[in-house]
């Protein structure tokens, strides 16, 4: 078997393009994945025009004014602002593609916000100019603007609720209040009730029932308005999220991305190499000569899968080494990486052998391997709930019948301790190895007779 292995390596050496692709592909994938997951998502460029007069402030119902909201600073923390001086300039920048969108705060924005506290409220409105030249960009723009406005609305609601709560607290607890620069003392309901209690003995008995009613009102108001402040605060963000997961803890996104990239690399390298080198025996007409007494069919299959495992291991480790430049990997788990890569490569190699035994030549088997592995790999990444239950069941069956998903699960488990263990995926892969090798053995009979 070692001489056949040597022969396949010699053939690989004679195919510089194939070797370059084998090395360049994982390195390129490693660089792309590493670059993508090691960078924060970039802020979109947005043209910003503030037409609100400089002195405008949002007024409260008590006649006071809220602290400055600092709209410019808040918006520009979330996007890269490009200040413009007119609507025409904003439109031009959007049209030319200099910016993703333009955000314009109209001059009447504060007046409309202030109207919310009156009997004649108007809807505050900001103007947005976009250039939705393609559906993908349109989606991105819509999502960004929705997120921006949601944050702005939440901030304003919190400011108003906080301010309302502060005044309510003043009414209950008492304190000082400034009117036109003059400090006014507010007694507060709590102090009012105590003061009236202390005065009660000195009030004539005939007037005490009326005083009692006032004291009861002050006490009730104090006690009930105590709970009003937290209620107002809740209005700013009525629903809080408390997340509970029914699955095991998942690994961080960057680790999962590395696992996906490594498994994709392993899939293409191993599957294509094993399928191609087996089909080559048919293309070169050497299969009958080899199996006519020189090697057994099982030994030939073993050699091809062994070749796939060896090259898959080297290329995947190379790819992980490249990713390490961008993302810190836990090298103390290296032993588990090896197990996951070897098991995954064995499963994918066995599948490649079955494909190679079914095809007539290297080109058609390469095409077949791509046509099968790419959609299956994509299907394996479809999360539950993303499609209907029946369709998802079909996807699960397809994904389970191909080694990509268990190889990905094994790789994820090997790279990070979070999530399910590596045992299940390894068992799954072992079953697939046996099944695919049996299929390949069966297909080789046809291979020999055609």
């Amino acid at each position: 078997m070692r001489w056949l292995l040597l022969k396949d390596l010699q053939i690989l050496r004679r195919s510089p393009l194939q070797v370059v692709l084998l090395i360049a592909y994982p390195v390129l994938i490693a660089l792309l994945i590493g670059f993508a997951i090691s960078r924060e998502p970039g802020n979109p460029r947005v043209a910003f025009l503030n037409e609100v007069p400089p002195g405008a402030r949002v007024a409260t119902g008590a006649g006071d004014r809220l602290p400055a909201i600092g709209v410019h600073d808040r918006v520009c923390r979330q996007v890269e602002c490009v200040d413009v001086s007119s609507r025409a300039e904003a439109e031009a920048k959007v049209r030319d593609g200099d910016v993703l969108a333009a955000l314009i705060l109209p001059a009447d924005l504060i007046d409309r916000l202030n109207s919310l506290g009156t009997l004649d409220p108007e809807t505050p409105q900001v103007d947005v100019i976009v250039n939705e030249e393609d559906p993908l960009k349109a989606r991105v723009v819509d999502d960004r603007i929705d997120a921006l406005l949601a944050r702005a609305n939440l901030f304003i609601a919190k400011q108003i609720a906080g301010e309302g709560g502060r005044y309510l607290n003043l009414v209950v607890e008492g304190g000082h209040f400034s009117v036109l620069g003059t400090k006014v003392e507010i007694l507060g309901l709590r102090a009012t009730a105590s003061t009236l209690e202390s005065l009660r003995p000195s009030v004539p008995a005939a007037k005490q029932p009326a005083l009692d009613r006032v004291i009861r009102f002050a006490t009730l108001a104090r006690d009930n308005l105590d709970v009003a402040a937290p209620l107002i605060d809740r209005l700013a963000q009525p629903i809080e999220v408390e997340k509970q997961s029914v699955s095991a803890p998942t690994p961080p996104l960057d680790v999962f991305a590395v696992a996906v990239a490594a498994t994709l690399t392993l899939t293409f390298v191993t599957l294509l190499l094993v399928a191609g080198s087996l089909a080559l025996e048919r293309e070169e007409n050497t299969f009958p000569r080899l199996t006519g007494g020189l090697v057994s069919r099982s030994a030939l299959l073993g050699e091809k899968v062994g070749l796939g495992i060896a090259v898959g291991l080297i290329v995947t480790l190379l790819m992980l080494g490249g990713v390490e430049l961008f993302v810190g990997l836990d090298w103390s788990r290296f032993g588990l990486w090896l197990i996951a890569i070897l098991a995954g490569a064995a499963g994918l190699g066995a599948a490649g052998a079955a494909l190679g035994a079914a095809a007539r030549d290297v080109r058609s088997v390469s095409l077949l391997a791509f046509m099968i592995s790419l959609p299956v790999a994509l299907l394996s990444l479809v999360p539950s709930g993303a499609v209907g239950a029946t369709l998802y069941d079909v996807i699960r069956v397809i994904a389970a019948a191909f080694p990509f998903k268990p190889a990905l699960q094994a790789m994820t488990a090997a790279l990070d301790s979070a999530g399910p263990g590596i045992g299940g995926p390894l068992l799954h892969l072992a079953i697939l190895v046996v099944a695919y090798l049996a299929l390949a053995r069966l297909a080789l009979r046809r291979f020999a007779s055609v």
């Binding site: 001489w3 056949l4 040597l6 022969k7 010699q10 053939i11 004679r14 195919s15 070169e284 007409n285 050497t286 009958p288 000569r289 080899l290 199996t291 006519g292 007494g293 020189l294 090697v295 020999a448 007779s449």
Partner: protein, 234 residues
């Protein structure tokens, strides 16, 4: 090498219908017949790469070397790498020495480092035959060895093969080229529709035709051969 009552079916089609055959050491036997006669099937069964449905093949004197019609070698390896690989797979005690012998025999020692894909069809066929000889076979089976070769290449090939037979190797070859079969085959086996119609020398076949269609027997061997087949309904 002996074969008795060989039958092979591909579905409903019978490729061989009870063919008997024998070849002696150092004999050069040509298997001829029209397309679909069963020539390749017979040689594949003798080589052991295809199993007969019925009948028995015995080769008591040792190894059988198989040279398929299409060169069965790795075109991206060099001449030497191909020979070395198969010498090792044949478990030759001294594979490098065996390679040198084959390079000498084929006259391709100077092209040992050339990738096979760059060799001419004739030279590829010589390597193909040399690989078949690496197992030191007593019997060499050649399936249409001269297909695609020009006359000069064909002459060199047959000179090479005749040399092997002179050295004691039994050579059984199939061919479509009737003149070639007459020239190089010491004995001819004629197959048609899976049946063995004739087993003897070219002169014996011509004699058989002379009794059936005298005018054809006086003509060239190919004309005599066609008349022989037509007289038997093929």
């Amino acid at each position: 090498m002996q074969a008795r009552g060989l039958v092979k079916k591909y579905g409903a089609r019978e490729a061989l219908r009870g063919v008997d055959f024998a070849a002696q050491p150092g004999e050069l036997v040509g298997v001829i017949g029209p397309n679909g006669a069963g020539k390749t099937t017979l040689l594949s069964i003798l080589a052991g790469t295809v199993k007969a449905d019925e009948g028995k093949v015995s080769s008591p004197n040792g190894e059988v070397g198989w040279v398929p019609q299409q060169a069965a070698l790795y075109r991206r390896l060099t001449v030497e790498e191909n020979l070395l690989l198969f010498a090792r797979l044949e478990k030759r005690a001294e594979p490098r020495k065996a390679v040198e012998e084959m390079l000498e025999l084929t006259g391709l020692a100077e092209r040992r480092g050339d990738v096979v894909a760059r060799l001419s069809g004739g030279n590829q066929q010589r390597i193909n035959i040399a690989i078949g000889l690496l197992g030191q076979p007593v019997t060499l089976l050649l399936d249409e060895p001269s297909v695609g070769l020009d006359p000069r290449q064909r002459a060199r090939l047959w000179e090479f093969v005749s040399g092997l037979a002179d050295g004691g190797t039994t050579v059984i070859f199939s061919t479509h080229d009737i003149q070639e079969a007459e020239r190089y085959g010491q004995r001819l086996l004629v197959l048609a529709d899976g049946e063995g119609l004739f087993d003897g020398s070219a002169e014996e076949l011509r004699e058989a035709v002379r009794g059936e269609t005298p005018e054809a027997a006086g003509s060239d061997f190919e004309t005599a051969f066609v008349a022989f087949l037509q007289h038997r309904g093929h």
